[in-house]
Amino acid sequence: MNNDTLIPKIGVVTDIRQDTPDVKTFRVVAPEGGKVFEHMPGQCAMLSIPGVGEAMFSITSSPTNKEFMEFSIKKCGCLTEWLHAMEVGQQITIRGPYGNAFPVEGDLRGKDLLFIAGGIGLAPLRSVINYVRDNRANYGDVQVIYGSRSKDDLVDYQEIIDEWMADPNIEVNLTIDNAQEGWDGHVGFVPNYVKELAPSTSKTVLVCGPPIMIKFTLAGLKELGFTETQVYTTMELRMKCGVGKCGRCNIGNKYVCKDGPVFRFDQLGELPDEY
């Protein structure tokens, strides 16, 4: 019998990293080793614990990683609570990849890239950033602006410090909402920081974070002279099937799980305001 996309595969959790007080990053491999499936940056997967729930998460590892997939997951509901309580060695079910991807091999190629992320919004962008780093020659300047509530809430802080900041080929700007001890970096909200840094309008922007941050960042970018066609984001809505059939995650006639989750802002502008 042919396998259906709705029938999940098994993944084994081989590593769990506590990123922030409420975000953990899980490393998932197939039981026989290697990745459960291939994906492109920005794509998602349905993770599930049978009997507990199933939900869509963006794949935070880069496709260039050939050994495993990673998911950074914030604790916010029944399933995520369960996932956070897991121990290494636990099996979960996984199906995907779902959705479109950032056009890393399309429109983004050769462009100067600006990544703007807030909080857990770094998760989907991290996949792209690492993909770009691994294919550095194909892209122009790379700048990352990332902010969170506090230093402790910065996801993947260690990787940012150890790898990204150490990488001379990318510029990383971090900020936190409020000053705190042990932080000598920038303090302030991401949209304001973007305006302060005033990046060149020649860049293509990939933004992800809480809705309110996205809203103000977009406004700020427009002030700086960016147009909506330059800005990509990725969305999240309730999804069940992942394949545009169950009828839940649409905004207008677009299904986030299938036509998204990556949208360019001019595309979003054509859709009704329902998210």
Partner: protein
Amino acid sequence: MQKISKSRLYELFDAIAAKQSLYIPTDREAGAAEYRKYESGMKLTKELNTVRSAKDFFFPQTENLADFKIEGKTIEVRDIREECEDFVIFGVRACDARSFTILDKVFLCEPVDSFYKNRRDHGTVITMACTRPAETCFCKTFGIDPTVPGGDVSCFDDGESIFFLANTEKGERFVESISSFLEDGDTDRLMEVQTRAREIMDKLPLAKLSTENFGGDKLNEYFNSDKWAELSEACLGCGTCTFVCPTCQCYDIKDFNTGHGIKRFRCWDSCMYSDFTKMAHGNPRLTQLERFRQRFMHKLVYFPANNDGEFGCVGCGRCLAKCPISMNIVKVMKALEAK
């Protein structure tokens, strides 16, 4: 065209049922018909159509997607599907037959839903032309001619005989398989019946209803219409319209702990339900207005936008008959159109 005398119809049914499952619309009680697996002695309903649509055959209300066995940290996935056996549905009306092509667009597009496809491949749809449409019928609005229904095989009733016309290869195979029951017949009387039925269609109260003001390009025009508030005001948020609708295909995936393992079910869901889009951290459709709008925008705007102008409604009139508060797509269309 090939035909069988109506007096021999049940003989034919017996013969079909001997080889594969045959489903016919039959009376459950006065005024309420449903499809049932044919057994000798069962009679066709005189009702125009069944209360529930025929979509159940391909997209059942609940189905077991997979089973899971959990032990310690390990999970075992069990694909418990069994090969579907061939079956025949007799007496599907033109509207329901069209609904299958709409469902096909959803379930057979990539990635193909193999659960649906499996059943679709094995089912033969035999339609029956309408002769006595009801006041709630408006299939014509969606370009359906109920006197010439689709499906794998179309059937026509001229009062004395049932004519069979194969539309697909599968249909041809089926007609071939019952050829011993069929004889050639002339269609003069049938033409008369069809003409009469079409005349009635033109006289139906909803005959003038048109889709000209709807379609994929009307998104912004209607999405923010102030009519939604009034239209959705009385909506109970139940799923009656959705569940009797032949084209509604939203579903939910639910796990059930049997005590011995987890069964994963797919079941019908309704966008009219308050928890349809509820997530751990909020709900984008908070009020009944938004949910109500979603259902009708989907049928009249979003679906045509994604499917070359095809509407997500076939005018079967079930929601007109069954909505507890008598709110329906016709009222919505008329209200939105009225400037």
